[in-house]
Amino acid sequence: MAIRVQAEPFDYGAECNAFAQRVDGAGAVVTFCGIVRDNEGRLQGMEIEHYPGMTERALSAIEDEARQRWSLADALIVHRFGPLAPGEMIMMVATASRHRADAFAAAEFLMDYLKSRAPFWKKEHSADGESWVEARDVDEEALKRW
């Protein structure tokens, strides 16, 4: 189990391979990766603010909850903060289990909670100026199924 909150870019593929290699008894690996969308070229960049200390606590709590709900061999959360360019990877999660249903459910659960319960805020920079990304009702709704 690992949680990393960092300003530096990460190598999604290298993380996927390293994760899959250390859980090879698990059989099923699911990963998610979030990428900065360029919105048809209008987005110039993004800045992610976070709450150091609380971020790590919140992500640990979310991961603990996932481990209680599903049989997981391992889980990984990597989330960047600071400035990001279009096309850059914002974050990733990975889950491993003997059964694919557990790996899928846990990854989706981690994403749903991370999206609305971990203290990150996104600001977009475009030709029209700056704006804070607003939370979407659909993301809050997504929590209700768990």
Binding site: Y51, M54, A58, L114, K122, W132
Partner: protein, 83 residues
């Protein structure tokens, strides 16, 4: 009592600082917000719509009616947009 208050995202921008330490006799988050609102226009503006504000007490998400007794760090911020 003395409390450290942190502001994030547009709350930080509207209030104009990321953190401050205040002396307060507020017993709940709601009372603390009332105190802040009366201080200056920028606080009144930042806290004008509490439906758009979330609060964490000592780095745990909490509610506006939660008691402040023993709390050392209060953080205000908009709904989170991670992922």
């Amino acid at each position: 009592m003395s409390v450290t208050i942190l502001y994030f995202a547009w709350l930080r921008e509207r209030i104009g600082l990321p953190r401050e330490t205040v002396e307060t006799s507020a017993t709940t988050v709601t009372e603390l917000v009332e105190e802040l609102r009366t201080r200056e226009e920028r606080y009144a503006l930042a806290f004008s719509d509490l439906k758009a504000v979330r609060v964490a007490l000592d780095q745990e998400l909490s509610d506006f009616d939660a008691p402040l007794a023993g709390v050392r760090e209060v953080a205000f911020f908009p709904p989170m947009t991670g992922g």
